[in-house]
Amino acid sequence: MESKSSDRRKFLKNTAAFVGAAAAAAAAGRPVSGETPMSEMEMPDLAAAIAYGQRSPYVKSKRIPVLERMSPDDFGMTFHVTSPLQDAVGIITPSSLHYISTHRGSYVPNINPAEHRLMIHGMVDRPLIFSVDELKRLPFVTRTHFLECLGNRAKASHKTVQESHGLTSCSEWTGVPLSLLLKEAGVQSSAAFIVAEGAETVKGATSIPIAKAMDDCLIVYGQNGEALRPHQGFPIRLLVPGFEGMHNVKYLRRIKVVEKDYMTYNDYGHLVPDARVASLTRVIGPKSVITFPSGEQKLPGPGFYEITGLAWSGTAAIRSVEISTDGGQSWKAAEFRTPSHPMAHVRFAYPWMWDGKECVILSRSTDEAGQRQPTRAEAAKYWNMTDDKDFRVPGADNSVFPWRIAGDGSVHNGLA
């Protein structure tokens, strides 16, 4: 024991010396590569860091509440919180950085999974109640899907891609197909919708057509290899691939099979006079955004860069992404650097030599259904409206978004 203790002291002393040397090297402006870097010993709670890993203290990427309304607000409620897309790599959003939206502001519940239940009832032959453990006994699937809030609408005042597009994220989800549970319950032939309801304070509910419910919806308990996070609906949530975020009910506690749209609080909020707009509000159209170079970043000078970003569609997988570096006069194909899954983010890249001149860069995506992301001008023309600064793309805004790169390499919102 004595010698071990002595070894430990020696180790600590040596480590301290290394740390000091590295700090001195950093202070002197010399690269520390090749020298022993500072160790995890520096961390305040080493045991906790070993039990559940943490990111490097040098990585500062974080979620930011939307500017319009703070989270938490004066009442302690959480509203809309954006994901730092400018720092993202690949297509999986770390669960800790997944954007957050709640049903018009609510408290994030702290649910004991052992006490949580899901009831399926209404127009079914056999109403059923499941515990979370029972759901986990059933055949599961694991799929990659994006989520996006209907409020993810770029404005001229937005400075960064986190502000303009940060209410979307993409995860690997694991759970039970909703169709499996509905078949167990026996859906009656006259059923037309389901009403899905959460267990949070406001018990947010939404109506979903039975055709979608019996198709590819999932009741998920897993996110990116571990349990769902409370901000994403722990212990279970509904996943409605491609449908606007609100339909993906968190803290799912009840599904009622019904004969018509039940016009819940969330449903009425989406009411518009035109069925086409209602459809474009419900399902996310093909969309894309360049995350590098993006707002408030700076290119150090002319030379080689890769333009990269994310593309997604609520209807199908993304088939292709095109890039313009001349404000939309010409378009060239980008490469995919990840698989393109249905209703998921895909990571695109476009190798590019910047000549140092001011330019506007754009991306546009096309999905496997043949839908192409419209420019604001194309959308305005379709709706017979004027494409000015006040033009608000009807439905979920999936329009092509411009970044302007100034001669000094600084990147700015092209709508401004």
């Binding site: 109640i129 018990k203 039940y262 016009m263 518009v272 006079p273 069925a275 474009l280 209807t315």
Partner: protein
Amino acid sequence: MGAFTMDWRKFLLLVAVMSLAPLANAQSPTYKVGRTPTAEEIQEWDISIGPDGKELPPGHGTAVEGAKLFREKQCVVCHGSKGSNGPAPTIIKSDGKTKSPYACLVPCVNDTNTIALHAQYATTMWDYINRAMPLNKQGTLKPDEVYALVAYLLFKNGIIPEDQVLDQKSLPKVKMPNRDHGALALEWKHGAPIVANYP
């Protein structure tokens, strides 16, 4: 040999019949996991009120009673004394002077689309007040109180007279101003364009 052949054919027939059985009723339970809720459990859990109001409980209320409850139940703390001057969504169209200092989030609720003016059915209001209000005291309102609060909001938004009694029968029949102006989304089909030929 003959007997063996017969058995073998019978066996094949049996396999064929068994494999067809699930097709006869594609929705017969396969896993038999989970349990059947009791009728009481379903009644207790089911707080969904559809447009035709068939789930509405017995009870009644008027705007006069609702005005009193609006203060007593602390609705004013979040919605403001006038229903349009608090941090929570506007629920009574304003006089043009009292506006919420808080920015609207999508979907934005302001003077033009308070729930009374924008919802197609009064059941939407009954359902939401019953399930989600008051903040932090959800589930404490009695049916009479919910009817009265709906009546108050409908009256203050100019939809029903102050003395109209709302109950199981009359509430679903209230003609809401937006009743004929909201469109349901087009039929959804897997993998099909959201709107043909858009943009």
